[in-house]
Chain length 267, copies 4
């Protein structure tokens, strides 16, 4: 009989058509991060089952990442339509058994393979369009670089509506990097049933802790930042709009993912 | 504690940000269908667990659909970026406990909400760009209409590569409609684990039979057809390229979906 | 020597690579139109050279069109990625030598061949994403149809920002159709110089009157409408936001274009 | 009366809605370049009026550029959807009054503002999707870097069809950089008439030489390369497919453009 292969659908005799190749997944990307605080009640309203509120109520970060990724062997790097993607997300801060963690309530990404990997990791990814200022290592007018005074921006839209934008004006190097985005990330994997009468009984519903290895981070630049979250039909991220903005950060970062720790199973 | 709502991620206090609203899902669309036969070995190579080969080995259909859909209340119809989508797929014919069925090994769709609904129904959806000739009910040169001699085409691409194209030249009305796409559809729902050592132990792996209601179909036009399936990196649908093409069909069809029957659970 | 062919760039030995094939261009499309009035000063501020203000100051219409088009022979109809496009535009009303005319200050379109044809006709086209509710001739829930009570919507975005949206609730058939979009359209063709010191001396700068033939229009449905125009970076159409909305219209229309009348040359 | 402003359409009282802001335009980008030879007859077949064949018949280059650009003041850099774009083009080599020059017969770009600037400069731009491997300055698996052995790729598609792909395997630093892309570029500005009977009498038809200033180039890496050009409906670039491939190059480059020299006027 059949023995179809593939880490995800579509599954075939070889597995090569899978929407994403099997782990390990190797990543590198440029990041803009804005540490901020939202309305504490709005943060509570998206806190997943199994997590406790953070004592610094309302603590959040907004993150834009311009990624390049590949599976083992790296063949996607030569075919960049299958390795590039950009994403934009919010994390809220919380506690898991007393430990500081982050969790991601809203995220947009611009490629299907990244959406699939996200769902598998517990990131609630939708499709969007994400843009982020780049640097090129030159002194040209069109290259802001990472020097003091350099200004960087990022935007996210979905369905032709603005979701969010952020800016950073670099003042200098940061010693510690972003604080609100620093704790380990714990997400909720969720996959529903369609069988009549069981729409509220998900088949997958488990709190998971991200696991990664082979991490490398560049030096981190920091400075004053702005952040806006906009309302739109079918979206709720704007409930996490900033009431206070801390600092912004620009860095390059990467790692490898081929594991995930299940913390609690609710299914 | 938290009690997040939503049929899918992202889940919130209200559920309004879910990538797709809960069933029922109401659909209407224009269709081009080409009945054909592929290499029987290639069809066998994508036959899911739990299905037996069809006695008419190699029997397939290619389908392009230009959809409009909504959830209960229909608010998406007023905001067509959230109701329109186009999809392009292949079905192979098979047997389930001796009954003729179809199953979908490859499918592309151009919106995230449709990709999510597809995964939940067992359609192995990837993102693509799909185009299909339209009619407008006029006698204008740019409107081929449904008259004898009218020519219709559809194309599907993904990652900037051609996946498939089809054409139909209408001869007249069909009495029975497409044959290779007619049997009930049985798909495989599949959602993997990322936990190290368990990448081959999917959490969701079940054969499911589509259930629908409130179906309506227009009269069906038919005539000679062409079909091409093209190879591309990371794709395998071209293994199902036609060795013989039967007829093409043009119809309008719709239904409502809010149920799914689990046939066999492999998880 | 060389004798390159082609109605537009890129020009080659055969002309087949031209971004748009030569006229005649045959069109058919579905339309949503909203007649309205903007701030008269804002309308004056975008009135082109050579036109006089309309006595009904501020008279405008917003139009969404879901087009299918082809050149002579109609080969694009079989390859719909080269025949479909959607556009969204504003017209203001004006006078030309005492005659009522319309002129288009802002327009977005979603395909390059349509952008090129637009520039050649004097439409100041930018790229955008446009969506419009469809009908399918069924009684299905997802098909609003053209019956009284049916609600239709359209949206336009550019650069991931909302430009405009409109809705229509059909009450019944209209006798005369849209009024603010009815007069002949007169646009400004404009193509600048890049030579230093001559950036303000356009090479093409002429008022042109659209010419068409072989027109066909469906019956027209009408009812109350809504219209919003939104501000966005690098855009100014929101200056024409409605101060009063008249009626909305839904129709199907088509024609053939292969001529253009030059009214005044400013170059 | 009216005095509309703006370097291009749409023109308004302020000029801010223009599809591209006025020059100077500041650019910086990463480049992949492949020097190669096409069939000399195919090169002749796209040689513009006013240029003579190059003695090294068939000499061409294929170029992919991942750009960031802005106008004076640089506000687009903070809003990267208005500053990023990618383009992919072919140049052929030719002679102008005995001097070696290049000229661009085919080019694709992914943003409207870049398409408009291209037409104004004489680049025959169409819309496409372009992807190119990136570097991040790390030693991560997903970052090929610029070290010997690093492999880079680029692809171009249009209308969902593959136009071209190229790869480079870096061996080391190049002393002289690309040769086939080095001579000054001379293009044909062309803007047609639509008036009946005058479709073959373009209003703008002039050979122009690019002028730039404030150029900066990084060190250039080089190595063996591959290049493919694919046929597609409505395209002719595949006539310039390689008969021999020389070397590939990876560099970062930028300049400022606010001038253009008219060489010959054919209108």
């Amino acid at each position: 009989m059949s023995s179809l292969q593939g880490f995800t659908v579509p599954r075939t005799a070889t597995g090569r058509a899978s929407i994403t190749q099997p782990p390990p997944w190797h990543y590198v990307g440029d990041f803009l991060v804005v540490d901020y605080w939202a309305d504490p009640d709005a943060v509570l309203a998206v806190l997943p089952e199994g997590l406790e509120p953070h004592p610094d109520a309302g603590r959040c970060a907004a993150v834009c990442a311009d990624w390049q990724s590949c599976s083992e062997g790296g063949e996607e790097l030569l075919d960049p339509v299958r390795s590039h993607y950009r994403e934009y997300f919010i994390v809220i801060n919380a506690l898991l058994d007393g430990e500081e963690v982050t969790t991601c309530p809203f995220i947009w990404v611009d490629q299907d393979f990244a959406l699939a990997r996200g769902w598998i990791q517990g990131f609630p990814k939708k499709l969007g369009e994400i843009w982020m200022t780049r640097t090129f290592g030159t002194s040209l007018t069109a290259d802001p670089g990472l020097r003091p005074g350099a200004r960087h921006g990022a935007t996210c839209s979905a369905n032709g509506r603005a979701m969010s934008d952020m800016t950073l004006t670099i003042e200098g190097e940061s010693e510690g990097g972003p604080k609100h985005n620093d704790p380990p990330i714990v997400n909720m994997r969720y996959f529903p049933r369609l069988t009549a009468g069981r729409h509220d009984e998900p088949q997958v519903h488990e709190l998971v802790r991200a696991v990664s290895r082979d991490r490398e981070v560049s030096k981190v630049m920091t400075g004053p930042a702005t952040l806006n979250l906009y309302p739109a039909p079918g979206e709720e991220h704007h409930t996490l709009a900033p009431v206070e903005v801390d600092r912004g950060y620009r860095l390059t970062f990467g790692y490898t993912v081929d594991d995930l720790e299940v913390v609690k199973d609710f299914a």
